[in-house]
Symmetry: C2
Subunit: 334 residues, 2 copies
DNA sequence: ATACTTTGCGCAAACGGTTGTTCAAAAAGA
DNA sequence: TCTTTTTGAACAACCGTTTGCGCAAAGTAT
């Protein structure tokens, strides 16, 4: 018989073994008192006839769904970077161990209706938010919902369990290193300030300068470069101002900067050095190799998921957790 | 009160309005006979008190989950390409319209336990398989399960609803164009022959040659180049054999080929022309711009999801559907 | 031998919806 | 006016689990 149409229920098992549904249920769950021999009979039977409990009935009885919600941005820019997919793999691994499945929710920056439906429908026992915005409507909604959840990234809202790589420190360190290497005039090109991570990276950059006693030049900090062409304009402007180093906040921006530099035949690193705060495959094969920070999104995903399960099971969890990073110094800043 | 803890049930609604649960249920579902005025009272009440039916109870009663399964490869190479994320966005859009949610399943090439759990647990009403392998265990399992499903890609197993871009034709056309442009000796570098799409692309390539009356040189067809370094070796070998054009099956391979060519300072297109059978952001900013085929994964996702819903609702669907493509001729083959 | 505790199991009521059947009242037809 | 049909709504069973409570049988202590 087709596996998916296998409609044997707990009552069938009970009847076949001449015992009650209660006993079968207890044999499976391990809760309540039950004799060893009986348990074995039950287990053998369900193994052989591969009975699997109906999750709806189970969920209804226990008010549990055995699903968690993985929330990611629906805007297409986000879907170009492998970050969320890598991160999701970590989430999936851990969820699988707990016999949980992942329900997907795609949210737009100003439209979280899909998330609302999932939550108000009680289709999940907890949620992981893959990216945070300033004043994030998803975070607000999740908080009000009372559901256990953790955010990957940071948020200004308190009482929210957070996990992230230590972007602040990473960016500070890389910036600091660049200055120590002798860079004199440094520009930063960054993405939307509506994304918390971008603010953190900017702050890390500023801290790095401060650490080295360099006064930041506001004019050389180009933010919100998410529209087509804005990165190219920033590069042009920075070069005109005479910078000898450009730092990009992520690989999307870095890729655009690189294209502009190549087009104008500006040599890296002799004319200008180039570094990025995040690495993905986009830049992997570039000549020269690009100095960059490196993170492990999969680890981030699995760690966040572990925290979530701790919360679901009612344990105390740290309200903020920071993971490491690596600084990869390559030819682009030699 | 917190939204997620809103525990008002159909019985509460019924009591408040002094009617039966049956009537409330019918007012909401629209099934069965019910007076206009009563329906309005019910709708107003549930709107105001935002009652939302418990999906588990609903599912249990109707044997429906209001979830579909989106199955993607768990291997990390796949997660680097934005294809699956883009495709998933299309799926999510359509699913949302139907008030369905997406349950994620990540399968390894030889381990589909996670999928098995989801299906045997009856957690979904249907499934979409994002990629097919030769002799795909997921396809086999899905077929046996009796669950409605569609595969994105092709499969040799019959009786399976399939949808894909017309890779065969696309690759044939691009190859044909290249030959018409005067290319004399052409190499193909491709990925794993365990992936159906790669076989299709190879076949399209061969058809293109045939169309132009060119006899293919087996030695210049490098397949299964998925290990590190294999693409580079293929490039080297092809150049030594004197090719004047290299075609890559996807952007991952093309990116590697490009790196190798740059490293060896081989000029494109004067010494060798370069083209790819799939475009992603990886190559977007390259100088020179790369000739490539272009598809719309999001459209593929939404179309596949529409087919699935037709199947779930018991309608007849075509058992094979092919979507279009675009040929983007750029400087790398001028 | 008696009283008390433990063990193993079943009964029946949830959990929150849907749906086939029944039934009175209202509407339509004769 | 009387019969037939239509309409609106309720009853109760059901979907497949879990779980609090009760109870007899077996085990232990006195």
């Amino acid at each position: 018989m087709a596996v998916g149409q296998n409609n044997i229920t707990i009552a069938d098992v009970a009847d076949a073994l001449n015992i009650s549904k209660t006993t079968v249920s207890r044999a499976i769950s391990g809760k309540g008192r039950i004799g060893n021999e009986t348990r074995k009979r039950v287990m053998d039977y369900i193994e052989e006839h591969n009975y699997v409990p109906n999750p709806m009935a189970k969920g209804l009885a226990q008010s549990r769904t055995y699903n968690i919600c993985w929330i990611i941005p629906a805007d297409s820019a986000a879907s170009e970077l492998p970050f969320f997919q890598r991160c999701m793999m970590g989430v999936a691994d851990v969820a699988g161990v707990h016999n949980y499945d992942i329900l997907l929710s795609m949210v737009y920056e100003n439209d979280i209706t899909q998330l609302e439906r999932i939550i108000s429908n009680k289709k999940v026992d907890g949620a992981i938010l893959g990216r945070t915005l300033i004043n994030d409507p998803s975070v607000k909604y999740l908080k009000e919902s009372g559901l256990p959840f953790v955010v990957v990234g940071s948020t200004e809202m308190d009482g929210v369990t957070q996990i992230d790589n230590d972007h602040m420190r990473a960016c500070k360190e890389l910036t600091s290193i660049l200055v120590m290497k002798g860079v004199k005039k440094i520009a930063l090109i960054g993405g939307s300030m509506n994304h918390v991570v971008n603010r953190t990276r900017r702050d890390g950059f500023l801290l790095g300068l401060k650490e080295q006693g360099v006064k930041p030049d506001e004019k050389l900090i180009y933010l919100n470069c998410d529209e087509a062409g804005s990165t190219e304009r920033a590069v042009e402007d920075a070069l005109r101002a005479g910078v000898d180093c450009i730092v990009c906040m992520d690989d999307g921006i870095c890729s655009n900067a690189l294209a502009k530099l190549k087009k104008d035949e500006i040599d890296i690193p002799s004319r200008v050095k180039l570094a990025s705060f995040y690495n993905s495959m986009i830049l992997e094969n570039n000549q020269p190799a690009i100095t960059t920070l490196s993170y492990d999104p999969k680890e981030l995903g699995s760690a966040s998921c572990k925290m979530l399960f701790d919360m679901i099971e009612g344990q105390e969890v740290a309200n903020r957790m920071l993971l490491g990073y690596e600084v990869l110094l390559k030819n682009s800043t030699m």
